[in-house]
C-alpha cells in the first residue's frame, strides 16, 4: 500500500437515497486528483467521507498507511493531517485572518504563540495576503477569504488537502486568484483532491481526472485522454455540456 490516500468501496446513504455506491480510488504523494461530475452525484459527500466529517456507512479509507475509518483511530489526529477547503470558506468570523490561520497550530498542535504567529504570517504571504493579517473575514472579498482558508489549511502542514468546490461561491472575477494559489500548490508538490467545475484548472493541473455520476466513478484517466477521447458516453455528454456552459478553458 504505497499510495498516500486509499479510498476503498465507500458507501453512504441518506435515508432512501444512496449517495455513494461504492467508490474506490487512490492518490499518490504529490498528485493532484480532480473530481468532476454533475451536481448531486456525491462528490462533496465523498470528500467528507475521507476525513469523516461525514461518517461513511461502509468501506475503508487509509491515509499514509493508517486506517482513517478504523474505530480505534483518533480521528482528530487524522484530520489535523488533512486540510479541508470549503466551498463557502467557513472562516471563523470572530477572528482576524492571522488568528484564523494560527488557531489550528496553537490549539490542535500545541504550538507556541510566537511560533504560530510567524508560521501564520508565512502562510498568509504564501497566498498573497501578508497585508491582510489583521482583517476580519467580513472585511475581505470572497477570493481573499478563500485564500485565507487555504492558508489556514496549509498552516497545519497537511499531508493532503481536500478542496470542495473552492471557487463555486465566488464572483467570476475572483476565481482566478484562488486558482492561481492552487496551481502554485500543485506545482510545489502538494497532494490535492479537488472537486471543481473549473475545466481549465482540471485540464492544466490534474494528474488524473475522476468523472463521477450518481454515486459511482464512471471513468478516470489523465486529462488529455479524458477530454479528447472519453471512453464512456456519459463522460462525453457531461464534458460537452460543461464546456458549453463555462467555455473551453473554464
Amino acid at each position: 500500500m504505497n499510495a498516500l490516500l486509499v479510498v476503498e468501496d465507500v458507501h453512504k446513504r441518506y435515508g432512501k437515497e444512496e449517495v455513494l455506491k461504492g467508490v474506490s480510488f487512490q492518490v499518490e504523494k504529490g498528485e493532484t486528483k480532480v473530481i468532476i461530475g454533475p451536481s448531486g452525484t456525491g462528490k462533496s459527500t465523498l470528500l467528507r467521507c475521507i476525513n469523516r466529517l461525514t461518517e461513511p456507512d461502509r468501506g475503508r479509507v487509509w491515509l499514509d498507511g493508517v486506517e482513517v475509518t478504523s474505530p480505534k483511530t483518533n480521528i482528530n489526529r487524522i484530520r489535523a493531517q488533512i486540510g479541508f477547503v470549503f466551498q463557502d470558506f467557513n472562516l471563523f468570523t470572530h477572528l482576524t485572518a492571522l488568528d484564523n490561520v494560527r488557531l489550528g497550530p496553537m490549539r490542535v498542535k500545541g504550538m507556541k504563540k510566537d511560533e504560530a504567529t510567524r508560521l501564520a504570517q508565512e502562510e498568509l504571504a504564501r497566498v498573497g495576503l501578508a497585508d491582510k493579517a489583521d482583517a476580519y473575514p467580513a472585511e475581505l472579498s470572497g477570493g481573499q477569504q478563500q485564500r485565507v482558508s487555504i492558508a489556514r489549511a496549509l498552516a497545519m502542514n497537511p499531508k493532503l488537502i481536500l478542496f470542495d468546490e473552492p471557487t463555486s461561491a465566488l464572483d467570476p472575477e475572483l476565481i482566478g486568484e484562488v486558482l492561481q494559489v492552487m496551481i502554485k500548490l500543485a506545482q510545489e508538490g502538494m497532494t490535492m483532491v479537488v472537486v471543481t467545475h473549473e475545466m481549465g484548472f482540471a485540464r492544466s493541473v490534474a494528474d488524473e481526472i475522476i468523472f463521477m455520476e450518481k454515486g459511482v466513478i464512471v471513468e478516470q484517466g489523465p486529462p488529455a485522454q479524458l477530454f479528447s477521447s472519453p471512453k464512456h458516453p456519459r463522460t462525453a455528454e457531461f464534458l460537452r455540456k460543461i464546456t458549453e456552459l463555462y467555455g473551453g478553458e473554464g
Binding site: L53, N76, A80, F86, T93, H94, Y136
Partner: protein
C-alpha cells in the same frame, strides 16, 4: 409641595438605602454568575447533549421557568431546614434566583448557539479540534456576542428580582424601605419612589455597560442590523 418635603425627608435615609442596595448588587452578581455558568451548560446540553442529557436539560429549564420566583425562594430558604441544614438568606436567594435565571439564560444562549452557521463547527472539526475545543474557541465566542442584546433584557429583569429576596429576610433594600415605612407611614410613597429611582439608575448603568460591551466585541465588517442606527 408636601410631597417634595417628604422626598427631602426620605433623603436622610438615602445613605441607609444605598448601603442596603449594595446587598442587592451582591445578590445580582452571584445570581448572574450562577445563571451564566449553568445557563451556558444547559444550552450546550440542549444543543449537543444528545437524547438523554438533552431531555434532562429541557426538564430542568421547564421546571425553573415554570415555578414562581417567590415559591423558589421559599423552597430554597425553608426547604433545607427540613433536613436540619441551615442556609443563609443570601445563599438561598442566590441559588433560587440564580437557577431560575439559568433557565432563562439557557434559552438566550441556545438561540445564539443555533444561530451560528454549521460551517463554523465543520471547519473547526476539520482542523482536528475536538468538539469541546471547537465550542470553546469557535462557537461560544461567537454565540456570546450574539447573546448580548437578549442577555441585557434578562439582566434588566433580574436586577429587579433581587428585591424579592426580601421575603427570605435578606437585609436588602426593600427590607430597609419597609422599616422606614413602618416607622413613618406618611413617608411610604416617597420612600418607594426613592427605591424606584435607585433601580432606574441600576438598570440604566447596567444596560449602558452592556451596550459598551456589545460595541467593544462587535466583529469588524459584520454590522448587526440596526445596532449602529443603520436602516436596512
Amino acid at each position: 409641595m408636601e410631597f417634595f418635603r417628604q422626598l427631602w425627608e426620605v433623603g436622610r435615609y438615602l445613605p441607609m438605602l444605598l448601603r442596603a442596595s449594595t446587598v442587592n448588587l451582591e445578590l445580582l452578581g452571584a445570581l448572574l454568575v450562577i445563571g451564566f455558568l449553568i445557563g451556558t451548560l444547559v444550552a450546550l446540553l440542549q444543543v449537543y447533549g444528545g437524547r438523554f442529557l438533552g431531555t434532562v436539560a429541557y426538564i430542568y429549564e421547564w421546571v425553573f421557568r415554570s415555578v414562581p420566583a417567590l415559591v423558589l425562594l421559599f423552597l430554597f430558604y425553608f426547604g433545607p431546614s427540613e433536613f436540619g441544614w441551615y442556609i443563609s438568606p443570601f445563599l438561598a436567594a442566590s441559588l433560587a434566583l440564580g437557577l431560575r435565571s439559568s433557565a432563562y439564560q439557557s434559552q438566550i444562549f441556545r438561540g445564539a448557539i443555533q444561530a451560528i452557521p454549521t460551517g463554523q463547527m465543520l471547519a473547526a472539526r476539520a482542523l482536528g479540534m475536538s468538539r469541546v475545543q471547537a465550542l470553546l474557541h469557535v462557537i461560544l465566542p461567537q454565540a456570546f456576542r450574539l447573546a448580548i442584546p437578549g442577555w441585557s433584557n434578562e439582566f434588566s429583569s433580574v436586577v429587579k428580582d433581587t428585591t424579592l429576596a426580601y421575603v427570605v429576610t435578606l437585609n436588602e433594600i426593600m427590607r430597609y424601605a419597609k422599616i422606614i415605612m413602618d416607622r413613618r407611614y406618611d413617608l411610604a410613597m416617597a420612600t418607594f419612589i426613592m427605591v424606584a429611582l435607585i433601580f432606574l439608575f441600576f438598570t440604566y448603568s447596567g444596560n449602558w455597560l452592556l451596550g459598551q460591551m456589545e460595541r467593544r466585541f462587535r466583529i469588524p465588517g459584520l454590522q448587526m442590523p440596526g445596532a449602529s442606527g443603520t436602516v436596512l
